[in-house]
């Protein structure tokens, strides 16, 4: 039977908690055994996805709170990492990985969902790549190809500081921050929040090891090879490099509006057009809550807000509800369109 190498690095520094799985992937050769890597960050930091803009993070807040910003080579948005989380990463040669991103996540994340179920939680894959219990995301993930390997990395959340997460995001105003916080509290939480028994890091590690072992081969404890150690060290250097942190799209024009994803199909959108500021919270296929503001709108703002609430999967439906408001309705739609495009 195939062997699964299990590299448990224990509690490590911020840089190493990211460099570990980058380095394992970078050193992996075709035909190599898959690797499950595990570690706990010993210090808090903000991790940002490969393509995301650094100005999505409030640098002043991060500096004031001593939070380094570390860019990862996998996707997704900014996320607060701290000692109340456990990272798991499954890495395998790209030739052994399923073709197609949907199948990749299903194959590489279902064992993590199974591990949570073994811990007594009614966990499932939510959307493509979140793991949730009911409405609560208990593990966020990202993935990428690094060298000749594919890696999917996720976190197990033992405790989550929603206020701090909301604080480190650069947002246009306090209303959006409050809305992000409201939805994060409702949709992102710890294993304990999800109603499970008290789960320790050791419990979670054991469950992940068993579940990934069942899916990928007999688990065998392993230390990093010399080649992996060298690759991890190279990644530590790269991840600490200011040019790397700036990102590949540094200097590109900022997109219109602002969009913060909270969980699969849950996000907050802000946009502005012709002086009309619009904030909308999207849950599933609906705009759940909206705020519209502009000095010239007077009493119309409340009516526009009411009209925005409702199904949003079809742009014609949103446009139809705003049609009666003429230019004001068109401004609201134009303001929101960039943020809602992901649902269109």
């Amino acid at each position: 039977m195939t062997r699964l190498r299990v590299v448990d690095a224990g509690t490590v520094g911020a840089l190493r908690s990211q460099a570990l799985w980058h380095g394992i992937a970078a050193a992996m050769k075709p035909g190599a055994a898959p690797v499950l890597s595990l570690c706990r960050p010993g210090a808090a930091y903000v991790s940002i996805g490969y393509h995301r803009r650094l100005d999505e993070i409030d640098g002043d807040v991060c500096r004031a709170e001593g939070l380094p910003v570390i860019r990862r080579q996998i996707g997704g948005g900014p996320v607060l990492i701290d000692a109340d989380q456990l990272f798991f990463g499954i890495t395998l040669p790209v030739r052994d990985a399923p073709a197609g991103v949907d199948r990749l996540y299903a194959r590489l994340l279902e064992p993590a969902a199974a591990a949570f179920r073994a811990l007594g939680l009614d966990a499932r894959l939510d959307g493509l790549n979140d793991i949730a219990v009911g409405d609560l995301k208990i593990s966020g993930t990202g993935a990428g190809q690094i060298g000749e390997a594919v890696v999917v990395v996720g976190n197990v959340i033992f405790g989550f500081d929603h206020e701090r997460m909301a604080r480190v995001l650069a947002l246009p105003d306090d209303a959006m921050r409050a809305e992000c916080l409201r939805l994060m509290r409702r949709h992102v939480g710890s294993l304990a929040d999800a109603g499970g028994r008290a789960v320790s890091a050791a419990d979670a590690t054991a469950a992940l090891r068993d579940a990934y072992g069942a899916a990928f081969g007999t688990p065998a404890d392993a230390a990093l090879s010399a080649e992996e150690e060298a690759a991890v060290a190279r990644w530590e250097t790269r991840l600490a490099d200011e040019r790397w942190t700036r990102g590949p799209r540094h200097g590109a024009p900022a997109p219109a509006g602002r969009r913060v994803k909270v969980r699969s199909d849950v996000f907050v959108v802000f946009g502005e057009e012709a002086g009309v500021r619009v904030l909308a919270s999207v849950v599933g296929d609906r705009i759940e809550r909206a705020a519209v503001g502009a000095p010239h709108l007077n009493g119309t703002a409340a009516a526009l807000q009411d009209a925005l609430v409702g199904p949003c999967i079809d742009p014609r439906a949103v446009a139809g509800r705003l049609a009666a408001f003429g230019d004001d309705g068109r401004d609201v739609l134009t303001a929101l369109a960039p943020g809602l495009e992901a649902r269109w």
């Binding site: 393509h51 995301r52 996998i74 996707g75 399923p98 197609g100 799209r249």
Partner: protein, 149 residues
């Protein structure tokens, strides 16, 4: 643009296709290679949300990355089907990567100068060469469940 249909996918007839990378190459009048994703390369990537390309002036070899694509929080390399020096990046697609989701076939990503003609010879060209390979790839990906039936 003259196209032909293979298993429901529209392919431009004037391109070379690389089976190893699922990239197409379109040579301009100066012999520079416009490089883009073929429809299967795009579809198996998922819905593209972000794109980065190496700077013009960067030399890339065949099989080496010239940029990265992100879809569904997966970041994967864009692999050059031929070697050359990046002469230009498509700023329109960089600004709006979602254009690739609607039509990857018409949006080039980079222009490579100084390509090796011998590397181009290894690519498939014309419906008679491309259609059997592409049909087999569609079947393979559908069997794997990587693309929809």
């Amino acid at each position: 643009m003259v196209t032909f249909d293979v298993a429901g996918y529209e392919l431009a007839a004037d391109r070379r296709y690389d089976p190893a990378t699922h990239m197409w190459v379109d040579l301009d009048d100066d012999g520079n290679a416009l490089v883009g994703l073929d429809p299967l390369g795009r579809e198996t990537s998922g819905d593209v949300v972000a794109l980065s390309l190496h700077e013009p002036g960067t030399a890339v070899g065949r099989g080496e990355p010239f940029g990265d694509l992100e879809a569904a929080k997966f970041v994967g390399p864009l692999v050059a089907p031929v070697g050359g020096t990046i002469a230009a990046c498509n700023e329109t697609v960089l600004a709006d990567p979602g254009l690739l989701n609607a039509d990857a076939g018409t949006h080039w990503l980079v222009v490579l100068a100084g390509v090796d003609a011998a590397e181009l010879d290894g690519m498939l060209c014309g419906e008679a060469e491309v259609a059997p390979w592409f049909a087999a790839e569609v079947k393979r990906f559908r069997t794997q469940g990587a693309i929809a039936e």
